[in-house]
């Protein structure tokens, strides 16, 4: 079990999200950086879809109340166990009473804003509508349907006896699968239904100008700031299903990218959709940072998804190899 000692706002329990609940108005939720959460679980030998803690405001501190094997992925937050510095994207063992501290994300080797704390066995909170992810809007899932606060205690799920896990880590996807455009982090975008109804100037700005992540950005959506995008004529669409990644443009012309807590439906016109396989990149873009959009095709988007899947397969292979070696020692 771990006890949260200190946390900023909006740390939540997340897994890979809900499936099949959109028809009740329940969005998917799930980790903003799904690759980082999956990698943390792979390091620990957990089910890849096990729940972890998503942390986005620092410092964060937790005390281990039992011996525990854990992993930290996502942003490099200068983690330490008591006073011992911990490498990121690495598996660690803690003894009962030790204190884990995460500081501000370092922006040196790769730029990121969210860290994932994964526990061997996964964070054990009840499944609600098939998932352990916190549904903030509906106030269910995760721990009591809310963000974590000091004093909260979280249990790890049952796991086989774990030992000898020190000395193993992964190279983060931000380093293995970099994507930039004009020197800025980038995400690939497929044009959406109303794309053709925007002006040439809007198309030009979308693809060729940087977009700043404003402070009004959260797990629901990223509100971006840049050259306003205007349609040739005003567009009113009927409410329809949307997915995380949809780039909506309200009449003020400033785009909003729907993120993992996205509503399952909306009505603002859609100029494009950040492809599912690149959403983790956007999920790591810090507030105030600038990003670029790259126009992509269906075939390329599918290929990028396969590239991510291959990265996870390779991570699993390395983790299995390491565990095999540890056992044979």
């Amino acid at each position: 079990m771990i006890e949260i000692i200190a946390t900023g706002a909006l740390a939540t329990v997340q897994d890979h999200g809900r499936r099949g609940t959109l028809k009740w108005g329940v969005g998917a939720s799930g980790a903003l950086d799904d690759l980082a959460l999956a990698a943390g679980n792979i390091l620990l030998g957990n089910d890849e879809h096990a729940a972890g803690i998503e942390i986005q405001i620092f410092p964060f501190q937790a005390r281990f109340t039992d011996d525990c094997v854990f992993a930290i992925t996502g942003a490099d937050c200068a983690a330490s166990l008591d006073d011992l510095p911990l490498p990121p994207w690495w598996i660690h063992s803690a003894s009962a009473g030790q204190i884990l501290s995460l500081g501000l994300p370092r922006q040196g080797t790769w730029r990121a804003s969210r860290a994932y704390l994964c526990l061997a066995g996964g964070v054990d909170v009840p499944l609600v509508l098939g998932s352990r992810s916190t549904q903030l809007r509906g106030a269910f899932g995760g721990l009591e349907g809310r963000q974590l606060r000091s004093g909260d205690r979280l249990r790890a799920g049952a796991t086989a006896k774990v030992s000898g896990h020190a000395g193993f880590g992964l190279s983060p996807p931000a380093l293995d699968l970099p994507l930039t455009e004009g020197g800025l982090p980038a995400v690939r975008v497929l044009p959406a239904a109303e794309y053709a109804q925007y002006t040439e100037a809007a198309h030009d700005a979308l693809w060729n100008e940087p977009w700043r992540v404003t402070p009004q950005s959260d797990r629901y959506g990223y509100r971006l700031d840049g050259t306003p995008l205007h349609p040739v004529a005003p567009i009113e669409t009927r409410s329809h299903g949307i997915v995380p990644g949809v780039i909506q443009v309200p009449p003020n012309g400033q785009p909003i990218v729907q993120m993992r807590d996205a509503q399952p439906s909306g009505g603002y016109p859609k100029i494009g959709v950040v492809i599912e396989a690149d959403l983790w990149r956007l999920g790591q873009a810090p507030i105030g940072s600038r990003i670029r959009f790259i126009k992509t095709s269906w075939d390329e988007a599918i290929a990028v998804g396969e590239l991510n899947a291959r990265w996870l397969t390779e991570a699993r292979r390395l983790a299995d190899l390491h565990r095999g070696r540890t056992r044979s020692n």
């Binding site: 499936r19 099949g20 959109l22 028809k23 009740w24 108005g25 329940v26 969005g27 609600v128 509508l129 549904q135 809007r137 509906g138 106030a139 269910f140 899932g141 497929l190 959406a192 239904a193 009004q216 629901y220 959506g221 005003p234 567009i235 009113e236 669409t237 009927r238 409410s239 329809h240 299903g241 949307i242 997915v243 995380p244 990644g245 949809v246 309200p250 009449p251 003020n252 909003i256 509503q263 399952p264 439906s265 909306g266 009505g267 603002y268 859609k270 959709v273 950040v274 492809i275 599912e276 396989a277 269906w298 988007a301 599918i302 998804g305």
Partner: protein
Amino acid sequence: MISDQPRISTLGTSALLFEAPGETDLVTQERIWTLAREAESWPEIREAVPGMNNLMLNFSRPPGSCKPIEARLRAAWTAAEPMRVEGRLIELPVVYGGDGGPHMADVVAHTGLDIDRIAAIHSAPTYVVYALGSHPGYCYLGGMDPRIATPRRKTPVVSIPGGAVSIGGAQTGVSASAGPSGWNTIGSTVMRFFDPALDSPALFRPGDRLRFKITEVIR
């Protein structure tokens, strides 16, 4: 936007959006419900999610090409008969205007009607639940009088409270919990719409009918 042919577009690699042609109406929606039931049985589709005269098909995994599914969708739409649903009738008490209706002034300004008239027009019809969406338990309603249609807000509001009765374009609905919205809130109601512990967690289902009853109009 109005044409005789349905429009099909992609939502990234996650889903397809099918939009029925014509003005928003109930018979089209009843065909959407039929199409949803049919499409949900296709192996590529994880979930079929009805919207307002449209349908989102979420993929179990992205197909190599969308063409075969698009062709099947068009054929299934041509064949789709309206699904008749014996829905329940539910009455919701509403306080129009005041603190619970912070955007009533915008609807007044846009329509040129006074608050009493807007409340009377809004509470007159028996609405049909076309679809659920937006947030847990929220329902989209069909049947609003076009005289009180008001465009969605230029900038969405960061949070409106649960129970907010609002107008977005030619649609109306009731929020089930606090959260962001681009609609104009004209009143408020008190009702529990969603319980995640239930097998069928949402109070309303497509095909249910709903009436707004005026408790008070705050001018």
